[in-house]
Symmetry: C2
Subunit: 318 residues, 2 copies
């Protein structure tokens, strides 16, 4: 499979992206996963020598323009057809790649996705999910974590469906337990959105809804998937990241569970509800993060999770 | 001053509440703070011997009924006029006490407050705030943390005003920096509420608004007061508490900053916007938490923060 990678995205691009590809190729003896690097050759030049030993195991696609982090997403995507993000989505749409990864402008990534590969029919809004470390084993999935700041109850129901399928295909959870993020345990608690979403989730066939979960349950084994609107999900995610930063990086606490809070471990965030596999990297993505992003995107492809999404929503629409 | 304490509230009442009073009296040689214990003498009997050495330094007020955690707040408050919460608010209203503390049913506490001591004129909604540990020094203040799950922009403006006054009077911050909890740094980011609240906060005289802060900024020195609606505030607070539980209690990590995440350190949460000092304890309040709740309530009284609130809103209304 071919995994497209925007090497111009992220605060330390293109150096870290290229180093990440190097790490990936170095640690992956089989050549079934073929990275397709998309970027500006001149800017990449100082680092491309790293990939000399792996000629033939990756492809270079020139994209002379770059969309910066502070550009307006829609305008930038339209004005820069030769940007790494626009070229990357073009390759994905044409089937030259099977997945696309960028640690660049998230807004431009979402605009690019909507213009090219588009949302799966029946999906109201694509959503960005985040793995969150789970005490005792693997990861829970929290969604949405930032692109859907104002949601309707039916959006949360779809997040639950997408999250459930993702959890089973990617984390191997047989019957993912779905929790609604709320501020109390009982039905009827919460804000207007949570109160309205609860009965819809309860009635929904095909998901295993366990009721409300609270902020204290995110890292436990209470639920495998926690749904919420993107405002609260984003606050929770950034808070968790900051605590990793404070306790690990500033206060040097060594702990295996704390180490799981490092975004580099899971690489980045999947976008769910699109017709192809797309992953978003953290702005500060390191080489290790890019390596794990490639692995995560390859897993999205090999697991056929996108087909499972499509099948689910085709049935739901019919 | 007289500090009313509902000794029947909390999962380990009345034992921990009485032990907390004992701790407080033991560590407070001067007798300017006089606890008024409100509860059921029969249930308290096994523990009251602890207070024998402190006769004269506390008062007992009998309240034979108790409102349990799962009772409907309004109904329970009306049906149980002899409950510790109802009696506690009665004493507060009559001026026999200067503050009231309970770790019991939060809903009943809010109902009790609204029926008796009432909201300060001009305050749209009382709010519960939480201290959150701040790297390098003291505490930031996060509000609302749970009783206002759906807010309008003008509520957030009042939370900012209340939080600013509280921060200066209680934490001694000269010019508290107010942040709006949001999912991006720039003006215009966020959900509809945050987008609408930003310009109002910016225009507001008498507060030092520094703009948006994100989930990652809660424990830093970026802002002294962080305002948000109660849904996201509650999720953030419970998440922070759970991380303390995981890293300190389950994984035995010793770290002075982590130790500050323990709710026992600050005892409980102040309710802001009422005509008298009211504090809410955690459901699992320990003796140490009760001791620190008494200290915190005494600080609310001695700092004259309530008068400062009243002065502010009297001017604002006029």
């Amino acid at each position: 499979m071919n995994i497209g990678l925007d090497i111009m995205g992220g605060d330390y691009a293109p150096a870290e992206a290229i180093k990440g590809v190097h790490l990936f190729l170095e640690h992956t003896p089989d050549n079934s996963v073929h990275p397709v690097l998309i970027g500006n050759a001149q800017e990449a030049a100082p680092y491309l020598h790293l990939l000399e030993p792996y000629k033939g195991r990756y492809t270079w696609v020139e994209a002379p323009e770059t969309i910066s982090m502070d550009e307006h997403p829609t305008k930038a995507f339209k004005d820069k057809p030769n940007s790494s993000i626009a070229v990357g989505f073009g390759l994905l749409k044409m089937g030259k790649t099977d997945a696309f990864i960028s640690a660049g402008n998230t807004g431009a990534m979402m605009v690019g996705a909507m213009y090219t590969i588009k949302t799966i029919e029946g999906v109201l809004r694509p959503t960005i999910a985040s793995p969150v470390p789970r005490m005792n084993s693997t990861f829970n999935l929290l969604l949405d974590v930032g692109i859907n700041a104002d949601c309707k109850p039916e959006h949360l129901v779809q997040f639950a469906q997408l999250g459930s399928i993702y959890s089973s295909h990617i984390f191997g959870v047989e019957k993912p337990a779905i929790g609604l993020l709320n501020i109390g345990e009982e039905e009827g608690k919460g804000n207007i959105l949570a109160q309205a979403a609860y009965p819809l989730l309860k009635e929904e066939q095909g998901i295993y809804f366990i009721g409300n979960v609270e902020g204290r349950d995110l890292f436990t084994d209470k639920a495998n998937v926690v749904v919420c609107e993107g405002f609260v999900g984003n606050v929770a995610l950034k808070m968790a990241e900051s605590l990793y930063h404070i306790f690990k990086e500033e206060r040097n606490i060594e702990d295996p569970f704390l180490a799981q809070f490092n975004y580099e471990v899971y690489g980045g965030l999947p976008v769910l509800g699109l017709n192809k596999a797309v992953m978003i990297g953290h702005g500060v993505s390191s080489a290790l993060a890019f390596k794990n992003l490639i692995t995560a995107a390859a897993k999205m492809v090999s697991s056929n999770v996108i087909d499972a999404f499509k099948k689910h929503f085709a049935t739901a629409v019919a």
